[in-house]
């Protein structure tokens, strides 16, 4: 397992490489687009951690180029609060984003979650450029990380709820085990993870107007797990 880290700050590059290698992820760290392209041709990577603000070629251009080469997962480091960067990045096909300054452990959790999603054997990852996933009248827009109700109005989701719903929708009609869901929420939520999942699911049901007692959309599976019972249309 080897990942490519692109960041123009040498200290951050070195520290991040040391931190990730401690957690058994091998890292090639480069400073800009030129070095990234050179490393790309020499090595084989499972994931790219990409700072959007790079000298010379911008992170967005680099992401676009990488996306044209392969569907390698990309985790973007965005300027804090720059929502437009985030939206453009996600629409461009980044799999996740972290605002800078990021929490190293949270970044590690995101990297692992993205890798797990990508590596899920036989599981087709959502084409990151897909504009919308439609189910039961609801619309999930991965590019903008938002959910629209059947009337077209946005329904607010917390970060954890969004990740959970995206996982369920991407694997509609398949059971997601508790372990998989825990992985998704790790680093997002405070408090005990077990309870966090139940809470997030019950809130999702409320938002999707799915009756908790007799859930039709997000069903509880005996033995621990959830399944989204719906046909998903991709656009």
């Amino acid at each position: 397992m080897r990942i490519l880290v692109v960041d123009d700050d040498r200290e951050i590059r070195d520290l991040l490489a040391r931190f990730l290698e401690r957690h058994r992820i091998r890292v090639t760290a480069v400073r800009d687009g030129r070095e990234a392209r050179r490393a790309w041709t020499n090595g084989h990577f499972q994931l790219v951690v990409l700072d959007l603000m790079l000298p010379g070629e911008t992170g967005l251009d680099l992401a676009r180029w990488m996306r044209s080469q392969s569907d390698i997962p990309i985790v973007m480091l965005t300027a804090m609060g720059e929502e437009t960067d985030r939206i453009i990045g996600l629409e461009l096909g980044a799999d996740d984003y972290m605002p800078k300054p990021f929490n190293p452990r949270e970044l590690l959790a995101r990297i692992r979650a993205v890798l797990r999603r990508a590596g899920d054997a036989g599981d087709r990852r959502t084409d990151p450029t897909a504009r919308a996933l439609l189910f039961n009248g609801w619309t999930l827009e991965p590019g903008r990380r938002r959910l629209l109700n059947p009337e077209g109005a946005e329904v607010a989701l917390t970060g954890g709820e969004y990740d959970l719903l995206l996982a369920l929708v991407e694997r509609a009609n398949r059971v997601l085990t508790r372990d998989m869901l825990l992985d998704l929420l790790r680093g997002r939520q405070a408090g005990p993870f077990d309870r966090a999942i139940d809470v997030a699911v019950s809130r999702l049901r409320r938002k999707l107007e799915d009756d908790g007692r007799n859930a039709q959309l997000i069903k509880t599976v005996r033995g621990g797990g959830y399944v989204l019972a719906a046909t998903v249309e991709r656009r």
Binding site: D9, E11, I12, L15, L16, R18, F19, A79, M80, G81, E83, T84, K100, P101, F102, N103, P104, R105, R146, L148, N149, E151, G152, A153, E154, V155, A156, L157, T158, Q189, A190, G191, R203, K207
Partner: protein
Amino acid sequence: MRFRLWRLHLWPRSLAARTAVVLLLGLAVVQAAGLTIHALDRMELLRLAQAREVAARVMSVYRNLVNVDADQRAAALADMRRLPGVEVALSDSPAISDLPPTAQPERQLLRVSMNLVPMPGPLRPHDIQMLGGPFWHRLTVSLRLPEGGWLNVTLHVEPPSPWHSPDFLIAFALMTAAAALLTLWAVRRLTRPVSTLARAAEALGRDVNAPPLPEDGPLEVAAAAAAFNTMAARIRRFVQDRTELLTAIGHDLRTPITRLKLRAEFMEDDEQRRKMLLDLDELEAMVSATLAFGRDAKSTEPVSALDLAELLRTILDEAGDAWPEAAEKLRYDGPGHLTVQTRPLALKRALANLVANAVNYGGGALVRLTPPAPGTSQGGMSHGALTIEVEDDGPGIPPQELDRAFEPFHRGEPSRNRETGGVGLGLPIARNIFRAHGGDVTLANRPSGGLRATVTLPV
């Protein structure tokens, strides 16, 4: 009280009304004077003409009578009685009636007029007495006949009217009304720039990026507008410079904070590492708030449909996750769904700031959403404003500090501040965002204790 109201009524507060009152009073005085001069002049003319006519008629009656022989006078008298509006009588002494003696100027005028009537000297009346006048509508002239005895001629006379016909008065009234309307229009037009300037100053106070005043109209108005625009531009540049400075510092702090967070991961002492990460989180929150404050509240975020009720519940859920000890005291009260057109991320940040304040200072939050009044709904689109109230049970804010709470970097008293306070930008950011959306947020202490933030948003 009544007296003051009356005075207020007489002397209005607004510049336009005051100018109009002065101009209209002046106009009324000038018109009244003109009308009086005209009327006096006309009455003088009429009096002269009337005196001449009366003299001619009286003298003609007299002459006719004097020219006939004494024995035929009774017959002549009978003839003359047939003339309309004239009573003629003979008597031994001057006539006495209920009419008072004629006023001196009129008597003078009539005598002069009668003397002007041509007649041989010996025949002229030796004495003339008069009773009544135009004021009494009747005039009796007694003339002493040359051979003795008196001829009494009573005429119907009209007092001279100051104007010829009612049309004159109507025309006069119309002219006055037209002048008054013109005055009102001109005054309103001339004083409009003053209220425009006041409105612009008010708008600038709320939003430094308010559109500039149009620099047109009369020279003085254009100059004032230009001066105002220059002042607004200077204020804008000043605010921008400060904001850019803040934003630059915030941007530059991100790299060192990231490095420190990474370095903390290599610390051996778990307790120290945990504390250092908490410090860094706090530092990050401050930088994040500073950057959010520096960013243009309108930003580039597009307007889209959002379920506001669900957003409020999500904010409360997230607050409950962040402060589990307050989770029990976070409540939502309002409709299940309410779709509004807004900028979701900006609105969420503003509302989350209010909820975070309520939790930090009051240990909980009650969020109440009131949709716009149904009566204002038209054609499926609702107009008017919705309100969102965020209440807590904390100690509130001393009344004199309620306004200062919205000043950037102002923080409540340390005694009310918990250890993990913000930088004092939560409320300013929230207010910037609400105002950029055409709404506002105000703070008030609840009578039952605690603070209430009231948000109004037009929809």
